[in-house]
Structure formats: structure tokens, C-alpha cells
Symmetry: C2
Subunit: 496 residues, 2 copies
């Protein structure tokens, strides 16, 4: 294990090491039954005292994460949350390859991975995946576009893409962003990515390292947490209020610390669904300029606006207000178009663009050329805008259904916000009820959701859960919501 101990932190070394090992076990990186280094080895590997190493293991054992077996060594214990029974046949027993444990790695945690890699049996209604149900996606438009490219752009199957992307495709995307969101982003400011997740990762690899501090809305998309943690930067959680990321907390931080970057999902924040107000957007941008801070803006849900909750129009992306090349803008298409194709874009300016492009070239030499050509027709078609309009009409109805059902069936002590669009709903239970503990019962009833605990970069709040109300069919959604309400209501009354 490569654990970087920060000797200048206010957190004790013992706590740092304990937390790092606990995260690896909880996220499944260290598997059940694996032999951990001895106290002596841990002490020498991390340059910590024998006493500290011993205390770390004592703490982990107390938490039920490891077992020390006299004369044999210290082993990872069975995980607390039982993952759903895998529907696939089990692997043939793997040879143990115990020697591999002597090979250290640079992984700090991958909690999103461990939660989302769970394969749900088909009878479980999935309220966890943030997708649009396939019956609502424009699969016919996608098929037409691909079919067209099959004959028109055959040769692109046999050619590498420029690292930044195909010129024609970049132009089409640029045109789309202008038409749909009023963004002026010329093709030479765009880089094609394999979805937004790659954009996050490219940013983190270019600009974040040990000692750097990145501020992020908390709770927040857990895969972003993993990405920033992998870079060994320090994550500074920033709470949200009704207008988005709290500017007062950012300002207080800036007065006695140095922030390098801010990560934000300003529109339909994941998981809370909050829309950052226009005024807050301006404030965050001014704050970043005054303190020489980069802004990483992640905008995957903008298209999912069904003008609910009294809101007529979404505030513009931060990038459209940025005149100094300070905002790096990520646009994914998985949330309303094609999760199966993994293409997104990242927009940046000046030398920041060049630096991100260099990392993209190292990461994979560029995204698939043919896939870009295959989407040309789609992104230049007037049918795309029509599809987005009609999708939002459908989603507005669904939103009504969700609101009606929850207000009718759910115990009113459970809080959830009113929605103007997006795809998530963040439910808050009373403080003494932990959503993680409800997962086994949820599976027994035939539903799955994400416990709120995975959305926190530091100490988690346990009394939240996230559901996604766009992933199920029209028939299954009401069933799943009823099962959820019943589960939560019973959990409330079953409390001691």
C-alpha cells in the first residue's frame, strides 16, 4: 500500500492511515481474506512508529474491518454491506497469487466502482442508475446517424482521430452548444473526451497533486471524489444552500488557505438537484478571478430542464460568463442522448487547452474517429432539438407523478426538494436513520437505490439517499416508488 502521510495535517497520522486502509477495504480494493502487511512491515513501509502501526490495526479491528489471527497474520474481514447476489455464474476459483500483495499500488479509493459495479438481478427495480430509460432515448435518430456514416465515412473506421477530435465533429458540437445552450465555443477550444468522467480525470491529472486543494460541492457525484482523491490533492467540501455552492465558505477559506480549483455541477447538481442562481454564478467567477483559482464546470444535465418549480429559464453556464479563460467546461451526452457511446467534450482556453490536450494524447491517443463521424448527422439535425423538447414534456409528467406519489405515500418527516428538472431526487431521513442499513431490506423488496454516504469526500452524512426517477419504464416507476415509500415509512416506525 502506498499511503501518503501528511505530517503537517491537523488529522493525526494514526487517523490518516486508519482512514486510508478503511476506505480501501470498504471500497472492495482490498478483498475479503487478503493478508495485510504485518505491524512491522506497515511501520517500515510508511515510516511510522511501531506503536502507531499497532494502533491503526487495533482501530480497524474494532471497526470490524480486519481480523488479526495469532501466528497467521492480519486479514481483511467480510465487508459490512453485502453486495447483491451476482446473477452471473461465479468465476472458476482463482489461484490466490498471494505474492501480488507485495506489489504496492497508487490507488487511494474507488468507492463509486465498488457500489456501481454491483450487477442487479433483472427482478430488482433500479432507482440507482442515473440514466434515461431506453424507451425515452432517441434510438431511432442514433440509428439513422450511424447508418448514414456507415456508407459515407467508411474510411474513418481505418484512421486515427486527431487527439482533440475530428474537425467536422468539433464543428457540429460547437454548433449544437450554441443552438441549444447559447454557448459560443469555437471548435479549436474543444477536446473530445470519452464521456465527462474522462474530462474530470484529465483535469485532475493535469492540475492536481499532493498539496493542491480543490473545493467541491458536498454532497457530490462520488466518482468525482474518487478522481480527485487519486490525484492526491486535498478535497475541500463546500456545503450548498438554495443558490448553490456557498460563497461565504469559499471566501472564508481563501482568507487562510490556498485553493487551486473549484469543481461544480451548477445545474441540477448531483445528487441534490440544486440549480446555482445567476447571482451565485457571477460571485463564484469573481471570487475565482480575485484569488487566481481555476473552475471546473460540469454540465451534463442542462438539457433536462422541464421548467418546473416556477423556473422559466436556466441561468447560463459559468463558461459563457468567463472572459479570462478560467473556466474549464465539461459537457457529457450520456444523461440525455447515448450512455452507450461514451463521448463528451471539454472546453478550455489558452495554454490550459494545450496542457489538457497533452494529457489526452497520453491517456488514449484520442477518441474513436468513426464514432465521431457516426454522430455528425445527429448533432446537425433539427430532430435533435425536437427530441429534447419532447423528452422534457415526458419528464415533466414523470416529475408530477413523483411529486404526487411521494406527497401522498411518504411520511412527511422525510424531506425532499421540489424539482425543476434533472434526473435525481435527494431524500433526507431523520438524523438517526442510516440509508446504508436499509439496502438489504430494499433488495428483499425488489428495489435498489444509492445510500447518501458515498456522496461525501470526508465524514459522510448517513441519513440521505439518492434515487433517479428517469431510469425505469413508465410501468415500473410507480411500483418502485410505492415500494420505496413503504420501505422508508416502515423504517421510521421501526425505529427503537
Amino acid at each position: 500500500m502506498n499511503i501518503t502521510v501528511n505530517r503537517h495535517s491537523s488529522v493525526t497520522i494514526k487517523e490518516q492511515v486508519r482512514l486510508e486502509i478503511a476506505q480501501r477495504i470498504q471500497s472492495g480494493l482490498l478483498e475479503e481474506g487478503h493478508l495485510l502487511p504485518s505491524v512491522r512491515q506497515l511501520s517500515s513501509q510508511l515510516h511510522i512508529s511501531l506503536v502507531t502501526a499497532h494502533q491503526v490495526y487495533q482501530g480497524l479491528e474494532k471497526d470490524g474491518l480486519i481480523d488479526a489471527i495469532r501466528g497467521k497474520g492480519t486479514f481483511v474481514k467480510k465487508r459490512k454491506i453485502t453486495p447483491i447476489q451476482n446473477t452471473q455464474p461465479p468465476h472458476p476459483a482463482l489461484p490466490p497469487f498471494q505474492w501480488q500483495l507485495s506489489i504496492p499500488d497508487y490507488l487511494p479509493r474507488a468507492s463509486y466502482w465498488s457500489h456501481s459495479a454491483v450487477r442487479l438481478p433483472p427482478e430488482i427495480l433500479d432507482l440507482s442508475t442515473a440514466s434515461i430509460h431506453h424507451s425515452l432515448l432517441p434510438l431511432d435518430l442514433l440509428q439513422d446517424s450511424i447508418k448514414h456514416a456507415l456508407s459515407k465515412h467508411t474510411r474513418s473506421l481505418g484512421s486515427y482521430s486527431p487527439y482533440q477530435g475530428d474537425r467536422e465533429f468539433l464543428e457540429a458540437i460547437s454548433h449544437y452548444l450554441f443552438t441549444q445552450s447559447g454557448l459560443t465555443l469555437e471548435p479549436h477550444r474543444l477536446i473530445i473526451t470519452n464521456g465527462t468522467q474522462q474530462g474530470l480525470d484529465l483535469f485532475a491529472r493535469t492540475f492536481l497533486g499532493p498539496g493542491d486543494v480543490i473545493a467541491m460541492e458536498t454532497p457530490c457525484f462520488s466518482s468525482a471524489i474518487d478522481t480527485f482523491r487519486l490525484s492526491r490533492a486535498t478535497i475541500q467540501p463546500i456545503p450548498l444552500d438554495h443558490d448553490g455552492m456557498r460563497i461565504d465558505i469559499l471566501e472564508e477559506l481563501a482568507s487562510h488557505g490556498r485553493l487551486k480549483a473549484i469543481y461544480t455541477v451548477p445545474t441540477f447538481q448531483n445528487p441534490t438537484g440544486i440549480i446555482m442562481s445567476y447571482r451565485r454564478r457571477k460571485e463564484i467567477l469573481e471570487f475565482a478571478e480575485a484569488n487566481n483559482i481555476l473552475i471546473l464546470e460540469d454540465d451534463p444535465h442542462r438539457e433536462l430542464f422541464s421548467a418546473g418549480n416556477g423556473l422559466k429559464k436556466l441561468p447560463p453556464p459559468l463558461k459563457s460568463l468567463d472572459t479570462t479563460g478560467r473556466v474549464i467546461y465539461l459537457k457529457g451526452f450520456s444523461k440525455f442522448l447515448f450512455p452507450g457511446l461514451r463521448l463528451g467534450i471539454m472546453a478550455a482556453d489558452g495554454s490550459i487547452y494545450n496542457r489538457l490536450l497533452a494529457i489526452k494524447s497520453i491517456a488514449d491517443l484520442g477518441s474513436p474517429l468513426w464514432l465521431q463521424k457516426a454522430l455528425l448527422l445527429l448533432f446537425t439535425s433539427p430532430h435533435l432539438t425536437m427530441y429534447i423538447k419532447s423528452l422534457n414534456q415526458t419528464l415533466a409528467q414523470r416529475r408530477e407523478l413523483v411529486a404526487t406519489m411521494l406527497s401522498r405515500e411518504l411520511n412527511p418527516v422525510i424531506y425532499y426538494p421540489q424539482l425543476a428538472g434533472g434526473m435525481h431526487l435527494w431524500l433526507t431521513l431523520p438524523p438517526d436513520l442510516a440509508a446504508d442499513d436499509l439496502i438489504p431490506a430494499a433488495h428483499q423488496r425488489g428495489i435498489h437505490f444509492l445510500p447518501g454516504s458515498i456522496f461525501y469526500p470526508a465524514e459522510p452524512e448517513l441519513n440521505h439517499l439518492r434515487i433517479c426517477w428517469t431510469n425505469l419504464s413508465n410501468e415500473d416507476l410507480p411500483k418502485a416508488l410505492s415500494l420505496l415509500c413503504d420501505l422508508l415509512n416502515r423504517a421510521l416506525t421501526a425505529k427503537p
Copy 2:
């Protein structure tokens, strides 16, 4: 600039910093005209003395890389190698965004990027790109496979892929690897990557960091050098002999240093074309086991075997000889099937598999599901094996053509090996002739090749060049070879 200074290195700190800055300038990461930090800023940023910082800039100025302008500052000078005139219209003048230079990054070099991002005008015959000419690729098989998936796997357009890849596709690939190369790699040992480059990068991010040492064949694929350097590991160059990577040098190193991993392209090594012998493969594997070292085996060219140079059969991949889960195997399909689709695989065992999968999940949440479905038919079709056979018949003829033309037209002081397949040819000029210097004349004549200097992780040898003889059409290849021979012959006689 984030430059990690190694105070225990035998290289002086001045030299380390000079080299790092020089590489950023030469690779285009620091662009012409950019303002560098002042001597005082450099000294304080890197914790080096003012004298050392001053000497670094003196050295860079002497090398013609920077200009110190009194009262204004130190700027990056025009690059020595003029890139080919871009055929695209120039960007509208970008605002300078000079403030961005105050944002440090973690990029050490990206030389492959700067060389390969050059966009060749269409009249230049490209001997540099390592591709198969589209007329030789199975574009019809690809079209059929995609067409089939369009109707059969429509829903996969709207679904995320499991991080490791689609089960059905993994099975098809597993079957293909067994049929084509005799490799037994069950689906649960495979991870789909966005081409081999991503596999290299995932490995480096998981296992390499400052202080780790990776050994690689030298000269070597320059993008692999960039990847390993980005991880801040130390690269140990290992020379090649007729049987591949030299085992005597590896053994000597092991006696007084610690290697963590070996990277090798054992079959048709890039750029030399050398095939590692069966015996050497066994020796390397035994060496790795004896010294607890990982092997990263990169096998993109195995299919390009046209049984030339007296060789009847290729030695098996190292992975097929590996019984302890020590070899991580990378298989790309860009070199003989579809560079425009960027899909490859990585095979690993035990906890090494899990760790690589965790990084894959952070890098991009998995490769496009629909693309995997779109290739199902191709990888299970008997036409694929037939195509590979017929491709190699064609390539055998090309190889003959290359051999005949070079032996007839090229001055015999220029050395090149006899080929048994692959796609590259590594030419060695007399020691006092630098291939980089010939690039402008080559462009004037209408050809492009890669100078050998970019294939070295440390001090480059300048008297080599790499050509790829599979990238041009049947008509263009002889023209390009004639132009190349003429250029090189003239350079020999023009020597002072």
C-alpha cells in the same frame, strides 16, 4: 511548472531542471513567446538556489531555446524543428491569458504528441503513421458487423458498459485470442480498454510512481515513454540484441537496484521490428519471478506475421507462459483491424486485475457498450481469420518490394534489418548524420518519416529513422521509397 528535483540523483540539479524545461519547450508544451518565471520565481518554486536557477536559464539560452530580454523577462524562443505548414486555417488570434502561466501543472513531457499532432498536407507521402492502408483493411467486414448490431443491439446505445466490458464481447475476444494466438484468457481476466495506449496508462497509474523503476527496450514506442514519465517513475533503458531485450543487462541491474516492472513489445518490437526469441521470453519470465517484478507485455503486431526471413512460427506471448499472474497482457486491434474504433484489451490476474479495473472505472467509467456490441459479429466470424491470412499474403509482397527497392536504391552504408512481418523499418545512418536534420528536406521532397530521436527515454541516438511501409497505397509506396532513398543517399554524399 512542477518539476520534481531528485536530490539523490547522479545528475546535477541544474541539469535535471534544464532538461525538464528543454523537453517542455521542444515538445511544444511551452509555446513560443510564453513568459517563463523569473530567476527568482524559479528558484523559489523549485527550492533551488538563485545561482542554479540562473545557470539553468543560461544553459537554455545557449541551446537556443529561450530568450532573455532585459527589462521584459525570459521567453520561449521559436522551436528548432519547423512543423509542417498547417493546412487548416489559422485560429483567430487567442487572447494571451498570460495569467495561466502562474497555474502549475504536472506534465513532464509529451513528445509523441508534439510530433504526431502534425497534420500533413495531402501531397506529402506519409511514411510515419503506423497504420495499414485503408484499402487493405476489412472495412466491409466491419460494416457488416456494425450493421448487424444496429438492429440487434439497439438498446446498448442507451446503456453504460460494465467497467471491465460487456460479457458477450469479452467472450468473443477470449475466443478470438485462443483461435488466433493460442492464448487461454478467460473473459473474467480481461478488461476492455480504449486502445493499447489506455492500457499502458492504466498500468502506469496503478503501479508506477516516484522512486519506482521500470525497464523498457530502447529504442521504444515514444508514447510509452511519455506515459511512464508522466507517472514520475524512473525509466531504465535496456538495449536490444538479436533475441530481444538484453537479459544480461537486466540481471546486472537487479544486482544493484530494484526494478518494479518491465515493459516489452516482444513481437515486432516498435521501432526495431525485433522478435524476442522463445528462449529469451523464458529467461525474462524467470528473471521477473526471481526478482518479484511485473511484466507489461504489449502485443499489437502479432497478427502481422507473413513468415518471412526464414521464420516459420512466432514464439508464444509471454502471457501464455505465465503461471503466477505476473504478466499483464495488452492487445490492441488498431494495427490490423480498426484504428478508428480505439478498442483493445488488457489481461491480468488476481488482485492485479481488480486494481487495474478500479483505475479503469476512474479513468472513464468503461468503454462504449454499443461499440463492443457492434464488433461481436466480427470477432466471432470465420471471415476474420481469412482476412488476416489474406492481409499477410499482401504484406509479404510489400515486404519483398521494400527489400528489393532498398537493396537496389539505397546506399549500402545505411543499415536496416531483414523483416519477418510487422509494419516498421528502422534505418541506421552513419553516426554523424542526424535524421532530425533531414526532416525539412524530406518535406520539400514530399515525404514524412519519424526521426529516431523520439524513441529514446534518455540521451537519444540521432542517426536513426523509422518508416512504416504499410500505411501508403500500392501506388504511393514505391514513390515514397524512391524519394526516401534519394534523400538519404544525397545526405550521405553532402556530408562535409
